[in-house]
């Protein structure tokens, strides 16, 4: 049920403008070794220690393709509901840069391994399909470090040759919010598949963002600018916002938008033109003569399809259907495969509704506060399940449970042990409770009179006092009942 309407427009001086966005996402393939060489892909190694002769383009060196990287791309393509091209070609993209030892990047130009597909986004205003144009395999470049020395740059080729999947979207995105959702969805799909770890801080996922604007109602696309190498979703959103406004301003003042490549300045939060013009992108693509066309067997694709794990969308549908969750709740629980696994572990033995609430509210609050992910959760699924079971059985109250939850965190302690040790078992004995209620009421005769003559708010006061006396252990529902009876 759509609650909101889409409302991201640029309000220029002369009217409302729509923003058209296309993303080229570069996702590092999760593999042990590189695309065309056998050196390691592990992040954070000492400079130039994960570099082979092939990676550093010594004379006479030749590429040999990593079969696993091919399969990872097929998997990802299938996860995007895309067409797998049984014949694809590797092309050389020729340009010069210090982090490109060959003087060319092995990529795919006219014949990529994966064709058209789509990704479905859940936006507050409804679901939206974002078209995928293609996915292709290519080599990552090394790294140039510019800020150590005044006159020189330092080159580290560890990353040179790591397999990248470049996922090109159609220009279907219309707001920074949609971009946020799209990137998160892509990331989630690949993490589910195990084809990319989506770690943006380590550079496993980055994007080039294409932005253009047009007046609402206009059917043609405006001139677009490409903002290169943005490595966080937040920066993408800021870049889009700034760039869209910049373009609107230009157009409204009668100027043209130049088609160019820009960079996002993370200090000023603005985009600026790249001064070094890469010769108008004349990459002189041609098929790499050191390789042959890649021919895939349909059997291989079928096998990979058969063995695909459950994807986020499928899992979400299943959760909604089988666990009676709302779309919103399901979305959160499937956003990471590990969260969904945690959830399903917890609900094996306890109430689903409570589990949903405890995970999405209480547990997530703790994780967010301490910058942890679900795998680093201070409370295990097993123990959370125990806690919830105690609430369901009435052994402890919801409020006490919150205290217990906090106490569980220092070392994933067993909640039953905590309750036992600290005597936190809920007091549900009606006789005992009646005793306490009588006690409280007798000590507050004046307030009882006031209540009976109309001050209904005092009910809460009585409940509070009972709780105080019982040190929070009184069963709230029973207390309510008993009080109601006594105060009739």
């Amino acid at each position: 049920m759509a609650e909101k309407k889409f409302d991201y427009f640029i309000n220029g001086e002369k009217g409302k403008w729509e923003v058209i966005i296309g993303l080229e996402v570069h996702a590092q393939v999760q593999s042990k070794s590189k695309l065309f060489s056998s050196s390691s892909t592990k992040f954070g190694a000492e400079p130039n220690t994960q570099v082979s002769l092939v990676d550093s383009a010594f004379p006479g060196m030749l590429p040999v393709i990593n079969q696993y990287c091919v399969e990872q791309s097929i998997k990802t393509g299938l996860g995007l509901n895309a067409k797998i091209n049984l014949i694809s070609v590797f092309d050389r993209k020729n340009y010069f840069y210090a982090d490109l030892p060959q003087g060319y990047q092995i990529s795919q130009y006219k014949n990529p391994i994966v064709g058209e597909g789509e990704v479905i986004l859940d936006m507050p205003y409804g679901t939206k399909k974002i078209g995928i144009e293609r996915l292709h395999l290519e080599q990552d470049a090394g790294k140039s470090i510019h800020d150590i020395d005044h006159e020189n740059s330092f080159v580290d080729l560890n990353r040179s040759g790591v397999a990248l999947m470049e996922i090109v979207s159609k220009p279907d995105l219309r707001s920074p919010e949609e971009v946020n959702s799209y990137v998160k969805k892509l990331r989630s799909i690949m993490r589910y598949l195990g084809t990319c770890d989506g770690n943006m801080q380590e550079g496993s996922l980055r994007a080039d963002v294409n932005v253009s604007v047009r007046k609402i109602g206009d059917k043609n696309f405006g001139t677009r600018c490409e903002i290169k190498n943005v490595n966080s979703i937040r920066f993408m959103q800021m870049a889009i916002d700034y760039e869209a406004k910049r373009q609107v301003e230009l157009l409204e003042s009668g100027k043209k938008v130049d088609q160019e490549t820009r960079l996002f300045d993370t200090k000023k939060n603005t985009t600026r033109s790249m001064r070094s013009k890469e010769d108008a992108h004349d990459y002189r693509y041609f098929p790499d003569p050191d390789l042959l066309p890649l021919k895939l067997e349909q059997n291989l694709v079928n096998k990979i399809k058969k063995d695909l794990p459950e994807l986020p969308d499928q899992k979400k549908e299943r959760f909604i259907k089988n666990y009676n969750l709302s779309a919103y709740e399901a979305n959160i629980l499937v956003s990471e495969k590990e969260i969904s696994e945690y959830y399903e572990e917890v609900i094996k033995e306890c109430d689903k509704k409570l589990a949903t609430n405890w995970i999405t509210v209480e547990l997530f609050a703790v994780l967010n506060k301490n910058n942890l992910n679900i795998l680093q959760s201070p409370v295990s699924a097993k123990n959370l399940s125990s806690l919830i079971k105690m609430i369901s059985s009435g052994k402890i109250s919801g409020k006490i449970a919150k205290d217990v939850f906090e106490k569980m965190q220092g070392g994933d302690k067993d909640p039953e042990m905590i309750v036992k040790k600290e005597g936190l078992t809920q007091q549900s004995d009606p006789k005992k409770l009646e005793e306490i209620v009588n006690n409280v009421l007798s000590k507050n005769q004046d307030k009882v009179t006031q209540y009976k003559s109309g001050k209904e708010k005092l009910f809460g006061y009585f409940v509070g006092e009972v709780m105080k006396v019982s040190k929070g252990k009184a069963n709230p529902q029973l207390v309510n009942q008993i009080l109601k009876n006594k105060l009739k």
Partner: protein, 484 residues
């Protein structure tokens, strides 16, 4: 004891085995002759001390039976040799010392041979006269003013002058066969994918092949056998068993059908070349082969197609020579300036020409008209051969349109230089094997060769046919030593 310098590879291997002479004696003989022959400028790097050490060690140890046991071999300076300078005939690699060994040379050393030295060649294998090398041009032993051919000119010259018992070169458009023809030696370009390209400085990836250069056909078969084989490090290497070329070598070619392509009878073909071709036909007929006229209709388009494909691939392959990782680096205020100066200083004129042509034909707007077109023409040329080979077992043509020309004659006219490869280039475009075998002399007593082209992976047939021609031509080497 017969002159070791004149012995064939086979005789040297057997002689060492039978202890007629030692590896040290053989090595010393070739070293001495090499030292005397500096005028020819065939060596870029001499490995004489290490070669002698290796020879002595070989003699000391128990005899190891390999195809090339105890033999010193000098190789074209395009093969990366571990810890031995490898220059590709270029200033840009003038100080490059690889930490790795090419697969093909490693194959030789595994068969018991060892490195004698690195031989001069046209810069990055681009040339047909060995006049483009940074290390100076090579001279043909057959005449002080003559080129040895190229790009494997140093190899051919050293071989003809008996500075090395055998050698290996590379052939992209004729760089083994043409110098072989100019120096009266045997040179074979194997089927594309027969020998590994790993560790060979790349010129044009879809055309380059390493191959044997020897004094006779028997040695060629033996050396080919030692060099060949599948290499998983080379994605264009083909996993087909290596035949026993050597023991399967035979003169018995009766019944084999030999195609004579009419399109190779080019305009203004010198009479001598035509006569030589006729002689070759007679030899093979005499050996029992059946001669057939065939047509390879797209022959005339081969050279233009080659001069699109080869420079295009080269322009990309040579992009790695940027002064960052190895080789020459020039000064520059910034990275781009450093690149531009390094490559300007480091590359010679012919290399520059080819890089620029290659860059041009791949550039925006021209790809379809040139590179794509050339690849289509290539397909047509390959089809020509495939069709012809339905009817014949081998094709006989001249190797070169002339004998060795004078130094300086063609160096200022690129196109005239390119025409040298007119008979050899179609073979590279089709990926087929071909051999040049000495078949006669021109009126100035300069060597002339005939080319035999075979079916893919059928090197045996062209070796056999070459043997038949060799036996019948029965050429006596009439080379007077003037260069020591």
């Amino acid at each position: 004891m017969s002159n070791i310098l004149e012995l064939s590879l086979k005789k040297i291997v057997n002689g060492i085995k039978k202890k007629d002479f030692t590896s040290e004696e053989v090595t010393k003989t070739f070293i001495d002759n090499s030292i005397k022959s500096k005028k020819l400028n065939t060596y870029i790097t001499e490995c004489f001390d290490d070669a002698l050490k290796n020879a002595k060690n070989f003699d000391k140890k128990k005899y190891q039976d390999g195809l090339l046991s105890g033999v010193p071999i000098a190789v074209k300076d395009l093969f990366c040799t571990k810890n031995v300078k490898t220059t590709a005939g270029s200033k840009i690699l003038h100080n490059f010392i690889p930490t790795y060994e090419s697969t093909v040379t490693n194959n030789l050393w595994s068969q018991g041979a060892f490195l004698l030295g690195k031989l001069n060649c046209d810069e990055f294998a681009m040339g047909s006269s060995n006049e483009t090398s940074f290390f100076g041009n090579v001279i043909n032993p057959y005449g002080q003013e003559l080129v040895p051919g190229g790009s494997s000119g140093g190899s051919a010259s050293a071989l003809a002058a008996d500075l090395t018992p055998v050698t290996i070169g590379t052939d992209t458009g004729g760089s083994i066969r043409q110098p072989a023809s100019f120096t009266g030696t045997v040179g074979l370009k194997p089927t594309y994918g027969r020998c590994s390209r790993w560790g060979i400085v790349a010129f044009a990836s879809s055309l380059d092949q390493a191959g044997p250069m020897t004094k006779n056909v028997e040695d060629c078969a033996l050396l080919l056998q030692a060099m060949s084989g599948y290499d998983s490090k080379d994605s264009t290497s083909v996993d087909i068993k290596v035949d026993n070329y050597s023991s399967n070598l035979t003169e018995k070619v009766k019944g084999l059908k030999i195609g004579i392509p009419k399109e190779y009878r080019v305009e203004n073909m010198p009479t001598e070349i035509n006569d030589l071709w006729k002689k070759g036909i007679d030899y093979l007929r005499d050996a029992g082969a059946i001669i057939k006229d065939i047509s390879l209709p797209h022959t005339m388009y081969a050279l233009p197609a080659y001069y699109i494909v080869a420079p295009a691939e080269a322009s990309s392959n040579l992009a790695r020579y940027d002064g960052v990782k190895y080789g020459h680096r020039a000064k520059g205020k910034n990275l781009i300036e450093m690149y531009e100066n390094t490559r300007s200083e480091g590359f010679g004129d012919e290399v520059k020409r080819r890089i620029l042509i290659g860059t041009y034909v791949l550039s925006s707007g021209y790809y379809d008209a040139y590179y794509l077109k050339a690849q289509k023409v290539r397909k047509l040329i390959k089809f020509d051969f495939d069709n012809a080979f339905k009817d014949v077992d081998a094709i006989l043509t001249p190797s070169t349109p002339s004998s060795a020309f004078k130094i300086g004659d063609k160096i200022n006219d690129p196109v005239s230089m390119y025409l040298n490869d007119i008979f050899t280039v179609p073979v590279n475009l089709s990926g087929l094997p071909a051999i040049s075998v000495p078949a006669g002399y021109d009126k100035n007593n300069l060597p002339l060769g005939l080319q035999l082209v075979g079916k893919a992976f059928d090197e045996q047939t062209i070796l056999n046919l070459s043997l038949a021609i060799e036996k019948r031509a029965n050429l006596k080497k009439n080379l007077k030593v003037w260069w020591t």
